[in-house]
């Protein structure tokens, strides 16, 4: 299977709250630090991405946020404008207002039209842009399949016309596993794991895009080796605990309790990890990222995550 960073178009998805944007921004940063010219695109324009690079807000026109790394935010109307300008050679910007509005309406009504414009813009950047890699901070698991399946859906509905031509070459690009891949982010918890397994099935059945890897985020460190745990258990017995209280001049109970909690959390999470491994095609690599006890975003965190990703990818 083609390694993630050897592809040209990588969609990053995941259940809300699993760190999808963190992983997407770190992946793009890692690629650019390895000398690639990278574009990262935020699909749901919530404007969160800028925070991961400590950069000014993203816009449709890409901006360099780190050396060799450019960021943009998707905007359906701007994508339509660009599309009409390039494809139909409509030069008058003023006149596009009502037409764009009409199209926006049509895009809302006709399934897939919006996706053809937005995913189409990404494909266009891959084909004609200066990029070695385009990373997409894609919609959450609930919506990504609809987006990736849109070219097929539209292909089925539209028999002729320019959209049809567009979907043909888009499909070709999305279906090529050497070019395009999907990265699913999850955490080792029940719902995220279940959704990721379901996502993998749906992606296989309903789209032509290949699942390139699953990133397991927020993996807790293994606190004890096997014998160490026996020592820990012995420490929590009443006699040694009382002695420990005296030695540290305070109540050691909460500190040991916290370790117990950490061990339990780790254990519950391991069972979900096993379930994930069994539920995903064995050819799909799992990449593990450690739980970060520090701040939850910002450039520093993005760098840390990029470092962990580099290790997992064998760099």
């Amino acid at each position: 299977m083609t390694p993630v960073l050897d592809r040209k178009l990588v969609f990053v998805t995941g259940k809300g709250g699993t760190g999808k944007t963190t992983v997407a921004s770190a992946l793009a940063l890692l690629a650019s630090s390895r000398g690639k010219k990278v574009l990262i695109c935020e699909m749901d324009a919530k404007g969160e991405l800028a925070g991961y690079y400590e950069s000014p807000p993203t816009a449709f026109k890409e901006k360099e946020v780190q050396p060799g790394l450019f960021a943009m935010a998707m905007d359906t109307e701007a994508a339509l404008r660009e599309y009409l300008r390039m494809q139909l050679h409509i030069p008058i910007v003023g006149r596009i207002g009502p037409v764009a509005k009409a199209f926006d309406f049509l895009a809302t009504a006709a399934p897939g039209v919006r996706e053809i414009l937005t995913v189409g813009k990404l494909c266009f950047e891959v084909r004609d842009g200066p990029w070695d890699l385009v990373v997409v901070d894609a919609p959450a698991t609930g919506h990504i399949v609809g987006q990736l399946a849109a070219p097929q859906a539209v292909n089925g509905l539209v028999k002729v016309g320019m959209i049809r031509n567009q979907t043909d070459w888009m499909l070709e690009m999305l279906s090529d596993p050497a070019t395009t891949g999907l990265l699913a982010v999850c955490t080792p918890e029940e719902m995220p794991v279940t959704e990721t397994i379901e996502l993998a099935d749906r992606v296989r059945e309903e789209t032509t895009v290949q699942l390139a890897a699953v990133v397991v985020n927020r993996v807790l460190p293994e606190l004890f080796g096997r014998q160490e745990e026996a020592v820990f258990d012995a420490l929590t017995a009443s006699g040694p605990l009382a002695a420990l209280d005296g030695l540290v001049d305070g109540d050691a109970g909460p500190v040991l309790e916290a370790a117990r909690l950490a061990v339990t959390m780790r254990r519950t999470r391991s069972t979900h990890l096993e379930r994930l491994r069994k539920g995903i095609d064995p050819d799909v690599p799992l990449l593990y990222l450690p739980y970060l006890f520090t701040r939850s975003h910002g450039l520093r965190t993005t760098r840390q995550v990029a470092g962990s990703l580099a290790e997992e990818l064998g760099f």
């Binding site: 259940k15 809300g16 709250g17 749901d44 919530k46 969160e48 494809q87 139909l88 006149r95 009502p98 037409v99 509005k101 009409a102 199209f103 309406f105 049509l106 009504a109 399934p111 039209v113 919609p139 959450a140 919506h143 859906a153 509905l157 539209v158 028999k159 002729v160 016309g161 959209i163 049809r164 029940e190 719902m191 995220p192 606190l223 014998q227 160490e228 020592v231 012995a234 420490l235 040694p240 002695a243 420990l244 030695l247 540290v248 305070g250 109540d251 050691a252 909460p254 500190v255 040991l256 916290a258 370790a259 909690l261 950490a262 959390m265 519950t268 006890f293 520090t294 939850s296 975003h297």
Partner: protein
């Protein structure tokens, strides 16, 4: 009126002054659980409904959107689609409770809900069948993202208007934007009364194309192809027969959401990103004059992680690990064995202390987030972190008891 016992009056006043989830669930008819993804929205909705059914003796429905499989099993929803289903007594028995009321559950099936909506609004059977068979309709109902938002609220309205339940707790679908489902009814109404929609229908009726609409047709024909444009028009011509019904209905749905009997419960964790999203959502609710009943903070780390004394103990454990280990070793086992090995004990002490200090950072950050919360709901409930996932009624009860009073 006889003078009331001052003590009773005082107590009653205190009850009124401090609303709880219990009072909220007792007084409202509709509770909408909303918030960012991955924070336990579904479990919070289910736990609230369960608590109301167990304690209030009312007939409660929880309408979930996409529950985890095991939770669906626990609610007896496995393999059941759109229809409401009573949670069996056996499930309560297994959890060791005897409910005073009834708990019902239903899952939202978008496609099925759209179909029944069409059936209801179509003027005749032929139009209904034509719409249901239209490929464009099938795409919209099944895949069209925003249709989930609308249909969840529509279904809520439908069930509420049957008057079957004392309380309906709704879990909202994961949306691109937490506000989408609030706007959905209005947007749908706009959509159907739009001038643009009439543009789409005109040429197939009278072939009247004027100066304003001409560029639109020229471009759409070139981009989408005449045939697809024809399909679209045909679909909307069929749909037009139902406009009035739809517009009226979506306005009614909007009214229900802003009704006094409806309240919103925003669910979040204390992590920065989801909390900002939840805060924004709560502000929007207030701005729209919707009732923000409660904020439920899930998965909060235990209090003992924040003690200053704990920090001192952990630091001492780390700094003097070797001395402490040497002193403790004899009480744990012979020094030749694993348990009494001072080096190993010192390692464990250091790891334990490090782990405490790590989690303390997270716990402190959580508290800071909580105290800087920019919105003031009637009720602020905190649910501690549970070591295990919640997938049965006893788990839901455990969670429910935390938010109850």
């Amino acid at each position: 009126m006889a003078p009331r016992n001052p003590r009773t009056a005082k107590r009653a006043e205190a009850d009124v002054a401090a609303p709880t989830m219990e009072s909220l669930l007792a007084t409202k008819e509709i509770v909408v659980a909303c918030g960012p993804g991955g924070v336990g929205k579904t479990t919070t909705a289910a736990a609230s409904a369960l608590m109301a059914a167990v304690n209030h003796g009312s007939k409660v429905l929880v309408l979930t959107v996409d529950p985890a499989k095991r939770l669906a099993n626990a609610l007896g929803l496995d393999g059941i689609g759109n229809t409401e289903h009573r949670v069996p007594d056996a499930a309560f028995k297994a959890a060791g409770v005897k409910p005073r009321g009834e708990l019902w559950a239903a899952m939202l099936d978008t496609k099925e809900s759209w179909d029944s909506l069409i059936a209801q609004h179509a003027p005749d059977a032929q139009t209904r069948d034509e719409i249901l068979a239209n490929p464009l309709y099938q795409n919209i109902a099944g895949r069209f993202i925003q249709s989930h938002d609308y249909i969840a609220m529509e279904r809520l309205y439908e069930i509420h208007s049957t008057g079957e339940y004392d309380l309906i707790v709704v879990d909202t679908p994961p949306t691109r934007n937490a506000l989408d489902f609030l706007d959905a009814p209005e947007r749908l109404a706009d959509f159907f009364s739009s001038r643009l929609l009439r543009w789409l229908i005109v040429p197939y009726r009278s072939k009247l194309i004027n100066v304003a609409t001409k560029p639109f047709y020229q471009i759409s024909d070139r981009v989408l192809g005449t045939e697809f444009m024809g399909d679209i028009s045909e679909f909307f011509i069929l749909f037009q027969t139902m406009y009035d019904g739809f517009v009226e209905r979506s306005k009614a749905v909007g009214r229900l959401l802003s009704d006094r009997r409806t309240t919103f419960v925003v669910v979040s964790t204390l992590e920065a990103t989801p909390l900002r999203e939840a805060e924004f959502f709560a502000e929007q609710l207030t701005e729209r004059k919707l009732h923000l009943g409660a904020i439920v903070l899930n998965k909060v780390l235990p209090d003992y992680l924040r003690g200053r004394a704990g920090t001192k103990v952990a630091e001492a454990m780390k700094d003097r690990s070797e001395d402490i280990a040497a002193a403790l070793a004899p009480s744990l086992g012979p020094t030749s064995g694993a348990l009494g090995d001072p080096a190993q004990i010192a390692r464990v002490l250091t790891e334990v202390a490090d782990s405490y200090l790590n989690f303390q950072i997270v716990a402190l950050r959580e508290m800071e987030e909580r105290s800087s919360l920019a919105v003031a709901p009637e009720v602020l409930a905190t649910v501690p972190f549970f070591d295990t996932d919640i997938y049965d009624l006893s788990g839901l009860l455990r969670l429910g008891e935390q938010i109850w009073a």
